[in-house]
């Protein structure tokens, strides 16, 4: 792990945010550089709040954010950040009476792509990228949930953003679509900064070179997926019986129990940890505190 403060694309320092008595973020600091960063955390961990702050939609109660060296609090610099941003909020409604292409065209204008020809090219490009060409003239109200999610991702990709913030982008996608999505993100040209939040540890393992685990409004881990998995090394066992002493136990597809804990169950076999194991162990530890 190297410290790369001077040239970090996105830097957050000491971010805190409260909603009434609830502390959504508590002194969060992190830096993001090009490539894909996965943000893991349970519901209520503060992922959405953090992403909305990075997307200049929300303001922190305390702390600072710098995006490409620009300060979102500065009214003059904020639009410049937004010109380089693609954002998919967690819960996105749609203008249901718009067609797919019409909606993307509309969003493209909001992203200041005002030249008609260029806008048409952009819309065609993202439609193709998300496999929505045949749905271009379909009204949004006629789309399934998965197609709408793809449309949400498509709008975020408009304008080839330098910073792509995707809040749970794989929610609602079927396995095939998730695979395609991973492929899409991995193949985006221009090496943008991508940060995505998800519950799916396998998504993180598959496409994210960097992982940040956010628990109870605090950053508990930052590193590679391998490093996250490694945090559970020597503490994951497979056994035929459930062990009550384990921190976490669940039955796997092979009908064997997988245990995460400090003590090996009787007759258990030590297995290689996964990203999910590491994440679960961190969650458990944070909960125990």
């Amino acid at each position: 792990m190297t410290l790369n403060v001077r040239t970090a694309a996105v830097r957050a320092e000491g971010l805190s945010r409260r909603y009434g008595a609830t502390r959504a973020l508590d002194d969060v600091s992190l830096t993001l550089d090009r490539g894909i960063t996965g943000l893991l955390g349970p519901n209520g961990a503060g992922k959405t709040t953090l992403l909305s702050i990075l997307a200049t939609v929300n303001e922190p109660d305390a702390g600072q954010v710098s995006v490409f060296g620009l300060d979102p609090r500065d009214a003059a610099e904020r639009p410049e950040i937004r010109r380089r941003l693609g954002y998919l909020p967690q819960e996105l409604g749609y203008h249901r009476h718009f067609t797919v292409a019409g909606f993307l065209d509309y969003v493209a204008i909001l992203k200041e792509i005002t030249d008609r020809r260029r806008r048409a090219e952009e819309v065609a490009r993202v439609l193709a990228a998300l496999g929505l060409e045949r749905r271009a003239r379909t009204r949004i109200r006629a789309l399934s949930g998965g197609l709408r999610q793809r449309l949400g991702i498509a709008q975020a990709l408009l304008g080839r953003p330098d910073l792509l913030i995707l809040d749970e982008p794989t929610a609602g996608l079927d396995p095939e679509q998730r695979l395609r999505f991973r492929e899409l993100l991995s193949g985006l040209p221009g090496d943008p900064v991508i940060v995505l939040s998800t519950h799916q540890a396998d998504d993180i393992a598959a496409i994210c070179p960097h992982v940040v685990v956010l628990l109870q409004g605090q950053v508990h881990f930052t590193g590679t997926p391998a490093e996250l998995a490694a945090t559970a090394a020597g503490r994951v066992w497979a056994a035929c019986e459930r062990d009550a002493r384990a921190h976490l136990s669940w039955r796997g597809g092979d009908n064997r129990w997988r245990h995460i804990g400090d003590n090996p169950p009787a007759g258990a076999e030590l297995v290689a940890p996964t990203v999910e194991d590491g994440y679960l162990l961190l969650s458990h530890a944070a909960g125990a505190r």
């Binding site: 040239t7 970090a8 993001l32 960063t37 490409f68 380089r84 909001l110």
Partner: protein, 593 residues
């Protein structure tokens, strides 16, 4: 602080702005805000123009214009304002549609996404305001359709561009109000309520409507445009009202921007613009409240009280037609039925006939005379009360046509032609046209040419002159379960209501004699005879037939036909038949001159 692996630094990541090629980032190609406003405005304008709400508003507005113009005389100084009433309905729809558009993002849970775009809320609001040009085609279409309707009917006067433009401004102002409402209240009900307020602000029953009526977005009250003999400057104060509407539109736009724009400097500009808009609106309001100049009202009252001083008279076939300036194109429509009667007349009366327009101005009227002393208004009122036709009567040699009541086309025009022909025939056979006062002097009743030969002759002449559809004539007899009647000398007399009798085509409305069912039936029988035969009988003893003592039975006998019988029996819903007896109502006088 935590860190992530950085890898090679993002090229130029620490450079706030930089030029990029197309492949490197389209978003970074910064479009001027104005271009975003125009592009977004174009899309929103297209959505607004294709909105079902606006389409419905256009249809409803068209229906209002159609209904309010009705079959009446197409006077442009009346039509101008009626078209605006249609624009008010369209404006309500545009308000609701604009509110829906402006509140679309928060209503569809897209507030967070929109907040991440470089186009700010202020830019979007500006685009929504710009998009109101999308409502202009609907407004202009309404004007075009209404204009075509008026033009097709043979318009009197010329359209007021300012009054018509006021209608367009009304639609734009309503749309701007919709944007302002939508920017703050995205719920669809807010737009509906806004449209309702706009509608109620233009009603008449619940609002004071003296001079201040002009300050409402579009006053839809019982004005006197349709009875004016010509346009009256300042009634309505169209130019000032258009300025007021423009001021209100600007004010609504400023409020919409104030809700969405951030930044002290922008708000400062908005405050300054708001002050200017308020000042312009108030100034326009003050101008509208100015009284109509005394000289103009004096002129109007003179035109009404003494039509001859203003009218131009034309003589055709020895009949004088006296019309207000601008109404000359109606002359052929008036001449046709009168000439039709004259063509079948054996001899003319000694007194020549004059067909004259009269204006039925009603005073006092606060929207007309506001700002003038009561004494002055009373003097005007006294003069107007002495105007021809205002006492409910017309001289025997004159037929009065109220301004604004002569239909332009359709069955109403046919009825009006018949009414005029019947009035001319009444003059020809010397049936007194005026109503006769009762002993109390409060009620005027038309006289009844009961059993008189001249009654059937008058009706026969009118039928020959205009050839009305027989069904319309027959309907005037009533049916077996409902007949018309009056009392003459304590006897129930079945009457005949001719087509258009109560439609005020002539002055006084329904004036002239009350014709009887027997008279009509004899006239109808006469139409079945060879015209030459009837003419011969009439010509032989024209003076005799005009005598009120000569009976219809004598005429029937001279023509060699049986006098038609008239039943006065009525079948009640129970199936029982009864004959109405004498009641306690006023007795209709017999036409005895």
């Amino acid at each position: 602080m935590t860190t992530t692996d950085g890898g090679p630094a993002l090229p130029g990541a620490d450079v706030p702005t930089r030029a990029r090629d197309h492949g490197g980032g389209v978003a970074a190609a910064r479009a001027p805000r104005l271009r975003t406003v125009l592009a977004l405005g174009r899309v929103e304008a297209s959505l607004l123009a294709r909105s079902l709400l606006v389409l419905a508003g256009l249809l409803a507005g068209g229906a209002v214009v159609w209904w309010s113009l009705g079959p009446a005389e197409p006077l442009w100084w009346n039509a101008d304002w009626r078209i605006g009433s249609g624009q008010l309905v369209l404006g309500m729809a545009v308000l609701a549609a604009a509110q829906l558009a402006a509140g679309r993002a928060p209503r569809n849970a897209m507030g967070d996404l929109y907040a991440s775009f470089p186009a700010t809320a202020g830019t979007r609001t500006l685009a929504h305001l710009f998009s109101l040009v999308g409502a202009a085609p609907a407004s202009l279409l309404l004007i075009a359709a209404a204009t075509a309707l008026v033009q097709l009917r043979g318009p009197i006067g010329a359209p007021s561009i300012v009054a018509l433009a006021g209608g367009v401004l009304l639609v734009i102002a309503a749309g701007a109000a919709g944007v302002a409402i939508g920017a703050r209240f995205p719920h669809p009900l807010a737009g509906v309520l806004g449209a309702l307020v706009l509608f109620l602000s233009s009603g008449q029953s619940h609002l004071p409507w003296a001079a201040g009526a002009w300050l409402y977005p579009w006053a839809s009250f019982s004005d006197q445009f349709p009875v004016l003999p010509g346009p009256l400057a300042g009634y309505p104060p169209a130019a000032a009202h258009a300025v007021e509407l423009a001021g209100l539109a600007a004010l609504a736009g400023i409020v919409a921007l104030a809700v969405t724009v951030r930044g002290a400097r922008a708000r400062g500009w908005l405050a300054a613009a708001g002050i200017v808009a308020v000042a312009v609106t108030c100034l326009a309001g003050a101008v509208q409240l100015r009284p109509i100049p005394t000289a103009d009202l004096n002129h109007l009252v003179s035109e009404v009280a003494d039509p001859a001083s203003a009218q131009r008279c034309t003589t055709a076939s020895q009949v004088r037609y006296c019309l207000y300036p601008g109404f000359g194109r109606q002359l052929p429509s008036l001449e046709a039925p009168v000439d039709g009667v004259l063509a079948h007349l054996p001899a003319r009366p000694a007194q020549p006939l004059t067909v004259r327009q009269v204006a039925t101005l009603s005073l006092p009227d606060a929207t007309l005379t506001h700002g003038h002393p009561n004494r002055q208004v009373s003097r005007w009122d006294a003069r107007v009360q002495r105007a021809p036709g205002m006492n409910g009567a017309a001289p025997a040699s004159a037929i009065y046509l109220p301004v604004g009541s002569w239909p332009a086309a359709g069955s109403q025009l046919a009825d009006a032609h018949f009414d005029l022909a019947l009035a001319a025939a009444g003059w020809a056979v010397r049936i007194p046209p005026q109503a006769i006062g009762t002993p109390g002097g409060q009620v005027f009743l038309p006289c009844v040419p009961l059993g008189q030969a001249r009654e059937a002759i008058a009706i026969w002449l009118a039928i020959l002159a205009t050839h009305p559809p027989p069904s319309g004539l027959q309907a005037g007899l009533g049916t077996g379960t409902g007949i018309f009647g009056t009392e003459v000398r304590n006897t129930f007399v079945r009457t005949w209501n001719y087509p258009g009798m109560f439609d005020s085509y002539l002055m006084p409305p329904g004036g002239g004699p009350q014709y009887t069912a027997a008279g009509y039936l004899l006239a109808h029988a006469m139409t079945n005879l060879p015209e030459q035969k009837v003419s011969h009988v009439l010509t032989d003893a024209w003076g005799k037939w005009l005598n009120w003592h000569t009976t219809d039975a004598q005429l029937a006998a001279a023509l060699g036909i049986r006098m038609p019988s008239v039943s006065t029996r009525v079948t009640l819903p129970s199936g029982k038949t009864v004959t109405p007896g004498p009641g306690n109502g006023p007795q209709a006088p017999l036409c005895t001159t």
